[in-house]
Amino acid sequence: MSRSRLASLAAPLALALAGATVARFAVDRASSAPTLFWSLVGAGVLASLAASAPRASRLAPAAALALFGALAFLPASSPLPSAAVAALLAAALGIALAERVDARTPPDGIAILGLALGAQLVALAERLLLAPLSASTWAALTLTPLAVALVLAWVAGHWPAAALALGLSTFAAGPGWHGAGLVSVGVGAAALAVARARGWPRLGAAAVVVACAAPHLPAAAPWLVLALAASAAAALASDRLLARAGAATLGAAALAALIAGALPWRAAPALESALASALGRPFSEAAQALPGRALVLSTASPRAELPLDPALGAARGVAVRTYLTNAVELPCGTVVARVALVSGGAVTGELALEIGRDTADWAVQRPDVAGVLACPAPRADWSWIPASGRFLGSTFRARAAWPVEVAVERVRLERAPGLPGEVAIAFFDVEVER
């Protein structure tokens, strides 16, 4: 590696150092583990981009600064820093792709390797947390992208657009390259070699790519499939659009990471709900009943009343983000809490939180807990890194909506009577929507 490329590692290394320091001294200890984790992952991704940059690029320093700002100053103990970091990393990859993939001069192998390593690290980051010393983890994070990069570099030397489409579509299926993706890349490259040897037209090459990529797309998130299909089509249609299409694709992934959660840290909603969110009436009127704090209902304090902004007046729905503690043995369908909208002393709307449908124990992703759960957990809305232990904590979101507006002055939260004494329910967000 040249000294110039080594010098460009300074910013990613400093990000790791600064992130570790921030994690060490943060007052909110719950934010320390995710801060440290994301700063190391961010440093790894940026280092792979910086070390493979064709010339001194300002991308890695700028991204390092932005990541540092997100980790050090965004509200801790919330999904926001993780979502912001995921979006920033995806955007950095998109910009790097746009910088390096030039239709006229194919990217060199080092550039592709940097991109592949960085993308794979973003996609499979949680493996480092869950099984850091496993050989398969290290192989997935290093050998697989190395193999993909070698093959794609050869393809890019002849068909840059095909390399992009093949690489992105097999990546999207994971997300990240796994065994099947690797095989598809290899088969695609071999087929393209045959196509080249036999002088097939561009359409033939495109057909090879589509045939190799198509089996993977159903496994990818729907919004990502659409973005990839559009960008691959654009890339194959005209070489001049290659770099721009690549940037647009990964840019879309960046937005999606923020909106829907492309990474395992937040569950991706279904396509229809993502579209409804994008096409719905902007600026939904909502009031946050728990601004900036959490509330725990237990036997000692089973009930809470939360005043709402009087300007809201009426509501069409309520959404809560919660988790349970010591609730592993509760059977499915057990109502653990009720969220009631109250106006003038009367209940005007109610959401009954059922275990297995609306919420679950916070540690359901811990292997020893997952094995003894009495009721399978719903999909986590947000997965987070606990202060201790190598597993992901889970927080769940539930929502109730009414066809007509109901009057509301405040929200009443009530732990269900009859629950075992040790069960507690933690509320992190209580949002009343109009």
Binding site: A18, T21, F25, F73, P75, A84, L255
Partner: protein, 714 residues
């Protein structure tokens, strides 16, 4: 030109469409979505006129995402996304402006009208910030009074504000009542006047008549944009290179403090514009052979005459600049006499009018204000250093890239550049404001009192950046640019953080302090709180900067990466130092000290803080607690405190550690500060110190005010 018009029309149509189609939404965010197309249209028009690349696809894609994000941010299930959405929208305009720089640089080769595109670009960027920033904070400080005066001029053509106060005309721009300030002049028929000068309201009146508060805000945006363009011309006229001038313009236009002042109604931005115009005339006169022509003299003199009409204290800028302008220049006797007569006449007229209307030629001031020889030297030093280095309201804290003034000024002096003379002309004014025992810019963004000198400071930056820097300088520039970008991003997301508090604190610094429980305040200069950092940090910064500017000369391999790495390393060192250096003094009002109840003393908005030892009001039963960083095994603890007024009974202050009583002191509420000491004792590392105002059930509750705790380690 056709492309420019199309871009502008498209932007305007987009804004009109957004205004019609967007439903009511969060204050500020909706407004930003409405004005953003117009701002981007303006930038597109400038780009088209200068032959820049069309709006690149990747930026369009980013714009689409940012708009979608802003529209749907409140349904993402993520907290606090509105500031990020506002930041993303502002970043679109900012990035577009930065990417226009090559085209703008090419335009500098023209002789006439070359500054206009720069002004338009700055205006567009400020426009993109306006709705969000305006919604974040209602007019405050002097702003409501300038706006009320403007309203009075428009509605009834007088300056009597009695009817405006009676009719609550302030409701047009504020939900908080606006009342006459203590000491405002009154008339025999019950008139209530404002102490504020009339010139700015006169300028704003037509805009207020046309568009109310929005009209006034847009007028101020125009003034700020004109300031940036005039500053560019001033730097060029003073002999700076195009390269340096372009970078100085970037700093003035796209970084605090002008960005944060751009939409504010203060006299400082128009004053800086007048200064810039005077510098342009002076520089061009020098470049044209050092002879004043009538036209050039008028272009120089009129702004200087207008300066004290904006604010009387600006006389201290106008006179030295006039002296600098006349010294060494060839002036025809008749012209010189006429100019001197005009200046004298203007000055005397101002004093006479003040005397007649207000009964005092100096309006609200007295001759005692000018008695600088009575002011202790240390106050000049505090104020002067604070104006630039203070962590809350200093220029270098607002935008660290302004530190380039230091090597620029040094180079200007070494080369006998006219920039050095221009800087010297501000020395009397800066000495005057440095002597003022107040808080330099409370209720306003940072560097309010120094803003008028910004054109000359920018010229110094232009000198520093005249050539492509090499070696350490490039790393320094990259690091400072990174710090400035972070600061600007924070202010674009949370515009309220730009405003310093009267207690000398900064919202951003307090956020960091409470988030990391770190005593940052002791490591940063503060003009309000005398501490070693006030002297050490500026000295060390100057030395490091000047050394780094010269060494190493060899071009670094990746200056941007090295600069950002240096910046992040500086953060690590700051955090480590805040946690590792032994605690010598603990100021109770600092956020790293946890308090169960109470409030900072005196209240946050009490001005002239150097009159008070800032402390914490600790009511009976309340406790302050912190873990000092031990600097030895034994410690002597001194506590400076007093009983709060109002309670007749003695107040007892207890010092404990892990619940064990270390000692207690009793005081009566006679207003005297006490210094009480605990004898040397063993202090295990990590042990907390708890300070408690004891509550005695048999006596009425009292309260203690604790200034500080000093720990001498043995």
């Amino acid at each position: 030109m056709r492309r420019a018009l199309v871009a502008l029309a498209t932007g305007a149509a987009g804004s009109a469409l957004a205004a019609a189609a967007l439903p009511p939404g969060p204050e500020g965010l909706r407004g930003t979505l409405v004005v953003l197309p117009l701002a981007l249209g303006l930038l597109g028009a400038v780009g088209a006129a200068l032959g820049a690349r069309p709006w690149p696809l990747e930026e369009r894609v980013a714009a689409l995402f940012a708009v979608l994000f802003a529209l749907g941010q409140d349904r993402l299930g993520l907290p606090a996304t509105a500031p990020l959405a506002a930041l993303a929208l502002f970043a679109l305009a900012f990035v577009r402006a930065v990417r226009l720089l090559p085209a703008l640089a090419r335009g500098l080769a023209r002789r006439s009208g070359r500054a206009l595109p720069f002004g338009v670009v700055a205006f567009a960027v400020y426009l993109a910030l306006l709705p969000w920033a305006d919604a974040a904070r209602a007019p405050n400080g002097d702003e409501p009074y300038y706006l009320l005066l403007t309203e009075s001029l428009v509605s009834d053509l007088d300056i009597d504000l009695a009817d405006e106060y009676a009719s609550e005309a302030w409701r047009a721009f504020s939900e908080r009542p606006v009342a006459p300030q203590a000491g405002d002049p009154t008339g025999p028929a019950g008139e209530v006047f404002s102490r504020h000068e009339l010139f700015l309201p006169l300028l704003l009146a037509p805009f207020w008549a046309a568009g109310g508060l929005l009209g006034a805000r847009l007028a101020m945006l125009g003034v700020a944009a004109a300031l940036t363009a005039a500053t560019l011309e001033a730097a060029l006229a003073l002999g700076a290179s195009r390269r340096g001038s372009l970078r100085a313009w970037m700093l003035v236009a796209l970084a605090p403090p002008v960005v944060t002042f751009s939409y504010q109604v203060w006299v400082e931005v128009p004053a800086a514009l007048l200064v810039a115009l005077a510098l342009v005339a002076w520089g061009r006169m020098r470049a044209e052979g050092g002879r004043w022509t009538a036209l050039r003299a008028a272009a120089f003199g009129v702004p200087l005459v207008l300066l004290p009409l904006l604010k009387l204290r600006l006389l201290a800028v106008a006179v030295p600049l006039a002296v600098v302008g006349l010294a060494g220049a060839r002036v025809r006797r008749g012209l010189g006499l006429a100019a001197a007569a005009a200046v004298a006449l203007a000055g005397i007229s101002l004093l006479v009018v003040n005397g007649l209307v207000w009964g005092n030629p100096l309006r609200m001031h007295g001759l005692a204000d000018l008695a600088l020889f009575d002011v202790p030297l240390s106050r000049f030093a505090h104020g002067g250093i604070g104006l630039f280095f203070d962590g809350a309201f200093g220029l270098f804290a607002a935008a660290p890239l302004w530190l380039l003034v230091l090597p620029g000024a040094a180079r200007a002096v070494a080369r006998r550049s006219p920039v050095a003379l221009a800087l010297a002309a501000f020395a009397p004014y800066l000495v005057l404001v440095a002597s003022r025992r107040e808080w330099y810019g409370g209720w306003s963004p940072p560097f309010r009192y120094g803003l008028v000198a910004l054109p000359a400071l920018a010229a110094a930056v232009a000198v520093a950046m005249a050539r492509r820097p090499s070696g350490g300088a490039r790393v320094v520039v990259a690091g400072l640019a990174g710090a400035t970008a972070l600061r600007l991003a924070a202010l674009a997301a949370e515009p309220g953080w730009a405003f310093s508090f009267a207690d000398g604190r900064s919202a951003l610094l307090d956020l960091a302090t409470s988030r990391y429980a770190a005593d940052f305040a002791r490591l940063l200069p503060s003009a309000v709180r005398a501490q070693p950092a006030l002297w050490i940090v500026p000295a060390v910064t100057c030395c490091l900067l000047l050394v780094a500017w010269r060494w190493p000369r060899r071009r670094p391999r990746d200056a941007a990466s090295a600069g950002v790495a240096a910046l992040l390393a500086a953060w690590v060192l700051l955090l480590l130092a805040a946690h590792r250096l032994p605690t010598g003094v603990a100021e109770l009002e600092d956020p790293w000290i946890s308090k169960s109840r109470g409030a900072s003393w005196p209240g946050r908005w009490v001005p002239d803080r150097t009159r008070f030892p800032g402390g914490w009001y600790l009511p009976a039963g309340a406790e302050a607690r912190f873990v000092p960083r031990a600097g030895g095994e034994r410690v002597v603890i001194d506590v400076r405190w007093r009983a709060a007024e109002g309670g007749g009974e003695p107040v007892r202050l207890e010092l404990r550690s892990r619940g064990e009583l270390l000692g207690s002191f009793v005081a009566r509420s006679d207003g005297t500060w006490r210094g009480d000491r605990l004898a040397a004792r063993d202090w295990p590392a990590g042990a907390p110190l708890e300070i408690r105002c004891a509550q005695d059930a048999a006596r009425p509750a009292g309260a203690a005010i604790v200034d500080r705790v000093e720990l001498a380690w043995r």
